[in-house]
């Protein structure tokens, strides 16, 4: 077996991460062994061929906790090559601690170039946001997914939800959304808002705010979704129709803010609320830090 020669050395914890010095020799390129990459790569091809369908895969135990991006990390590790430029964001920001930690993991195990500039990245791994800047056909967006099953909170059993997807029985989801309307007068789901992909599968877009849902529709970039703990991979090919579930009398809409970003003045971005004191003081700034600083630079 080709694998037999891949004896992993006991990793040297003291090994310094030296930028530009090549990937950490204690590990295979991008950490995963080749057999695991092949398994994930095959799963991703099926995921792309069946848009929105959750392909089970033998998720590996990664050196970071389940729920902290192990699915996205395995997807990225299976596609990344030395010529890639990687961007990692969490909550839209490049500097959030878990984004930093994942970016360092890939710097160490692949030595690829990293960037915070959205348009310079060939692979963008994200948790909870889609960059504000439109992506291109040359880019791949990798989502970290905690619970891939959009029907899970309506039906906890995998054996049941799998049947529902097989039969296209999505009545339960519509009932849930309609109950919202009956109770609140509108759909009370603000993130992980369910979508229908290419008119077939209902899919969870991961816990991105519904503000980002329209960006998924006919996005030129390939979108890959990895759920490590739940062991599922799914995908949306470029230019694919992604429709946010709604009703004729209650069309889908996105969040809006009454004020622009207080740093860059943008009026078309997702804003984070920053609490400035304990007397109700607060301000609103872009969640996409790259977009915000660059807009600010452009303005100056």
């Amino acid at each position: 077996m080709t694998q037999a020669a891949q004896q992993a050395a006991i990793p040297d914890e003291q090994a310094e991460i030296d930028a530009g010095a090549g990937p950490d020799p204690n590990y295979n390129f991008a950490y995963l062994d080749e057999q695991t990459k092949r398994m994930i790569r095959r799963a991703m091809l099926k995921a792309v061929a069946i848009p929105g369908y959750q392909v089970p895969f033998a998720s590996r135990e990664m050196p970071m906790p389940y729920g902290w991006g192990t699915g996205g990390v395995q997807v990225t590790a299976s596609i990344i090559g030395p010529d890639d430029v990687l961007k990692v964001i969490d909550q839209g920001a490049d500097d959030t601690t878990n984004a930093v930690s994942i970016r360092q993991f890939f710097e160490r195990t692949t030595d690829v170039e990293t960037t915070t500039r959205t348009e310079d990245a060939s692979i963008i791994q994200t948790r909870h946001r889609i960059p504000e800047k439109a992506l291109s056909e040359d880019q791949i967006l990798v989502y970290q997914v905690p619970i891939p099953e959009p029907l899970r909170f309506l039906e906890p059993r995998e054996s049941e939800t799998r049947k529902m997807h097989a039969l296209g029985e999505y009545g339960l989801m519509h009932v849930k959304l309609y109950e919202d309307i009956a109770t609140h007068g509108h759909i009370a789901t603000t993130y992980a808002y369910p979508v229908k992909v290419n008119g077939h599968y209902i899919m969870d877009p991961s816990p991105t705010p519904k503000f980002d849902n329209p960006k998924m529709h006919r996005m030129p970039a390939l979108q890959l979704f990895g759920a490590g703990r739940e062991k599922r991979i799914y995908a949306i090919p470029p230019h694919t129709a992604v429709y946010s579930l709604d009703f004729e009398d209650h069309p889908f809409d996105v969040q809006q803010w009454e004020q622009p970003c207080e740093i860059c003045g943008a009026t078309d971005t997702f804003l984070d609320e920053v609490v400035t004191d304990d007397r109700g003081g607060r301000m609103f700034v872009c969640s996409d830090t790259d977009h915000c600083t660059r807009d600010q630079e452009a303005a100056e």
């Binding site: 390129f29 799998r162 097989a166 390939l222 470029p238 230019h239």
Partner: protein, 211 residues
């Protein structure tokens, strides 16, 4: 380097001589080839060029061999068309570099290599998965003499902005009708990767075909 020990251990399989060499750098070359395959599958009908310097046994082409080395291992039962199965060097090459078991029945194959499209079995003879697990379906690597995306059938669907044309030389009579039937069974179905000398293009089950 990966595979180094295995090479030493099994360099003379079945007394037919050492198999042709695989990738020089399996980790990075399979990664590069995978990105082509992923790109092709994500943009059905779009032709991607693959410059490969691989020494491969006939009747395999470098593109087909590279795809096989990238995707196959002992977890992937492989079916070969009779012409390919009759070339012992080819079977040895694939078994040696990937460890994949060869299967007789098309229905048991996770992957199939069809070196001569004239020998392509009916698409519905391959595993199409189930409604609950449509991913448990075959992927076919079909060698074709030439690919052309400036003419041919019209493709629409996920991965295609408006429409895409594709022509593949040497496909059997009634092939495109079978592709239409394959698509009609969505989410069940097989997925195809066409391998020409230096090019690949893919045709997943999600693609609609207008002949």
């Amino acid at each position: 380097m990966i595979g180094a020990d295995a090479k030493a251990a099994g360099s003379d399989l079945n007394g037919t001589g050492a198999p042709n060499a695989g990738f020089d750098n399996p980790v990075l070359q399979s990664q590069a080839m995978y990105r082509k395959l992923l790109g092709a599958m994500a943009q059905p009908g779009r032709i991607l060029s693959c410059e490969l310097s691989l020494d491969v046994p006939a009747p395999l082409w470098p593109t087909t061999a590279a795809a096989a080395l990238t995707l196959l291992d002992f977890d992937t039962p492989l079916w070969l068309n009779p012409g390919a199965a009759a070339a012992p060097a080819l079977g040895n090459y694939l078994r040696f570099h990937s460890g994949c078991p060869l299967v007789e029945a098309t229905g048991n194959a996770a992957f199939a290599i069809i070196s001569d499209p004239a020998e392509l079995p009916p698409l519905d003879s391959f595993a199409a998965g189930t409604d609950e697990y449509p991913d448990r379906s075959a992927t076919l690597l079909i060698q074709v003499e030439r690919l052309d995306d400036s003419r041919g059938v019209i493709l629409r669907g996920p991965g295609i902005e408006c429409k895409q044309t594709l022509q593949a030389k040497g496909l059997p009579q009634g092939f495109w009708q079978q592709v239409q039937e394959n698509h009609a069974g969505f989410p069940r179905g097989v997925d195809m990767i066409f391998c020409a000398q230096n090019q690949i293009a893919a045709l997943p089950r999600s693609t609609q075909v207008e002949v």
